[in-house]
């Protein structure tokens, strides 16, 4: 009886979440196919305050495997984008999810999802500044 009841509840969760996951996967696929990797470099202007914010914003909208964020981040560094901006981009990529936000709001609750993503966005910028400061303090050339 317990097994049947648990199986029913799991099946109900499955019916709820599968359309959401399929929608998120379709959106992720569309975004990664539509936005070429080199397009990210055009977003940065060299502004020391604006660039980390732009990096975090781009990382929040971007979707897909984190490997892609390392590759793009490496390329951005190579063309002269600051490490602070690149770090904000990488951290926001893995911690903020605008594409999956509708799914998160539906399943985890609106307030939780909005708060978590907004706080993670701010932390991505703050963390980027702190990481570069610590690296400078350790004598590493950012």
């Amino acid at each position: 009886m317990e097994i049947r009841s648990s199986a029913k509840k799991t099946a109900k969760s499955f019916l709820q979440i599968v359309p959401m996951i399929a929608g998120v996967l379709l959106l992720v696929s569309l975004l990664t196919a539509a936005i070429p990797e080199e397009a990210y470099a055009a977003l940065f202007t060299g502004h020391p305050v604006l660039d980390p914010l732009v990096g975090a914003a781009a990382g929040s909208v971007a979707a897909g495997n984190p490997v892609t964020s390392y590759v793009i981040g490496g390329e951005l560094l190579r063309v002269g984008v600051s490490l602070t901006a690149v770090t904000a981009f990488i951290v926001a990529w893995v911690s903020v999810g605008l594409v999956s936000l509708p799914a998160e709001m539906e399943v985890m609750g609106r307030r939780f999802a909005l708060a978590r993503n907004a706080i993670s966005f701010l932390c991505a910028v703050l963390m980027a500044v702190l990481v570069v400061l610590v690296l400078s303090g350790l004598g590493a050339s950012p």
Partner: protein, 175 residues
Amino acid sequence: MNPEQKGKISPYPALFLAVVLLVYAVVFILDPDLAARSLARFAALLRQVIPALVLVFLLLFAVDLFLTPKRVAGALGREAGARGWLIATVVGVVSTGPVYLWFPLLADLRKNGMRPALAAAFLYCRSVKLPLVPLMVYYFGWLYTAVLTVFMLGFSVVVGLATERVEEWGGKKEE
């Protein structure tokens, strides 16, 4: 409160999928090549996601079958203390698959007494990708990778506590 919590099935997931399919239909009309490339990526992504999805639903089943609210509250509730943070952090770091696959399990655990801060910390710790560390070292160096990883683990507590504060702001309590 979610419709699911009231015992109803929400129409929102199906509606969301319908809107996304509509976007695809528009893209297919405007740029059939982009739509085809996107669908090919979707098929590849789906193949990667299915094993993790199966794991999540097996865990959901196990949680419902074996975990009582008392047990969840003891391990991941407010009284869990440092042990709860450690569990959320370690499980968050080692968990696999896209983040959205874990939402149903976390929602289930939260209904059984998991602290919101630990749910948020779990999701944040998923930023630390152990299998991808060598690649990050290749691109950014070991010192950067080490410093960033330490910060990510530390910030998981900050994000967890801040999310819980905001969620419960104005007297809204989960329990």
